[in-house]
């Protein structure tokens, strides 16, 4: 953290290398967060470029270098939402897709090939509400601790944990073919 604060101070003075290192260190979760808002990876690079541009031009406004991560998360989420609003209406998902044909199998996880399971998990992740998708993707990038995830999401650690549990249950239910009403319980 100390090191990161020093990098932020250097970046505020216009040190390009420091800025690059900062962004590279936070890149994985940053991608995850933007993905969580966008629902897919179509415009991921464009949004990340806008985030970088924003960071380059506004880094001097970071008052507390120790809170750079939270500031970066706000910038990223704002840029992603801005991009999402500009998308044509037809490209926005209208809700969960229809259940797979063998969704009501007794234990789909057992006999399912791993690739197929991962496809279903991905499909389920895309149908999650934004706040659950964000936390699920962040947790599975494997980059951040719970405390850091809570900082990035701007919520207490307990709230973040509950969201993660619910996100996992929703995905589990989606994979096992339970209906939306059951998923929301």
């Amino acid at each position: 953290m100390q090191d990161e604060s020093a990098l932020v101070c250097a970046a505020r003075r216009g040190d390009k290398e420091a800025l690059q290192v900062l962004l590279k260190r936070n890149w994985a979760w940053l991608k995850g967060l933007v993905y969580g808002v966008l629902e897919d990876s179509r415009d991921l690079d464009d949004v990340l470029q806008d985030v970088c541009l924003r960071v380059i031009t506004r880094i001097h406004t970071v008052r507390d270098p120790g809170r750079f991560r939270g500031w970066l998360a706000i910038v990223a989420r704002r840029e992603a939402l801005k991009h999402l609003r500009r998308r044509p209406l037809g490209s926005i998902r209208q809700g969960p897709e229809s259940l797979p044909p063998d969704a009501y199998a007794e234990d789909p996880l057992e006999g399912m090939a791993k690739r197929e399971l991962c496809d279903r998990v991905l499909d389920a992740v895309k149908t999650l509400p934004e706040k659950y998708r964000e936390v699920f993707v962040l947790a599975h990038t494997g980059e951040l601790s719970y405390a850091e995830m809570a900082e990035v999401l701007g919520v207490p650690v307990t709230t973040m944990q509950i969201r993660l549990v619910r996100a996992r249950r929703m995905i589990q239910n989606h994979v096992m073919g339970k209906r939306e009403s059951q998923v929301q319980k």
């Binding site: 390009k16 590279k24 690079d45 031009t57 699920f136 599975h140 601790s145 549990v165 996992r168």
Partner: protein, 192 residues
């Protein structure tokens, strides 16, 4: 979902995410040893976690261009707006600078357009008296001349008026005349 289910799922989640404490680890192990449903849930969540890792890695982390490439693109794009970064002034200060610049521009335009292109030219030789102005104004006036109303219509009067109060407190109106003309002063109020 009951409270105990949530608690168990939180514990399993913490175990899978590497956030579990030694105390929580013991509790989880006890629960898993005692309850077959808990073991089943643990196994399901473990597979889901593994799959989630793979999905996020392929769909998010490894997708698209690298951090360096995107950063360089953004840096180049920003180069066009580098003046903003150099100035680094906040909104209010930028507004004040804009107003000041506008004022200066307006002032410059005023001198160029309103004052006209006729700039004062320095006389080439020594100053010359163009017209010998009669010094009648210096002479004492015995009789105040009266104005001929017929003639006054033909006069082109170019006057300015000045008001002042003398030492006795009398207000005076002075007809200030242009060059080469003399006119008597008149008193506003009582004559002394």
């Amino acid at each position: 979902m009951s409270q105990s289910d949530i608690r168990l799922e939180i514990l399993i989640g913490r175990q899978l995410d590497g956030e579990i404490s030694p105390g929580e680890q013991k509790i989880l192990e006890r629960e898993l040893a005692a309850d077959s449903q808990a073991r089943e849930l643990f196994e399901q969540l473990r597979r889901l976690h593994q799959c989630g890792r793979e999905v996020v890695a392929s769909e998010v982390v490894e997708a698209g261009a690298g951090a360096e490439e995107i950063f360089e693109r953004a840096w180049r794009k920003n180069a066009g707006f580098s003046w903003c970064r150099i100035l680094r002034i906040d909104g209010r200060l930028r507004f004040a600078v804009g107003v000041a610049a506008g004022f200066l521009l307006g002032l410059a335009l005023h001198f160029v357009l309103v004052s006209g292109a006729k700039l004062p030219v320095e006389p080439a030789g020594p100053p010359q008296i163009v017209e010998d102005i009669p010094r009648e104004i210096d002479r004492p006036v015995d009789v105040i001349p009266t104005m001929n109303p017929q003639a006054s219509r033909q006069l082109m009067r170019e006057v300015d008026w000045y008001v002042f109060t003398d030492q006795s407190g009398n207000p005076w109106v002075i007809e200030g005349l242009r060059e080469g003309m003399a006119k008597p002063a008149s008193l506003r109020g009582e004559m002394h």
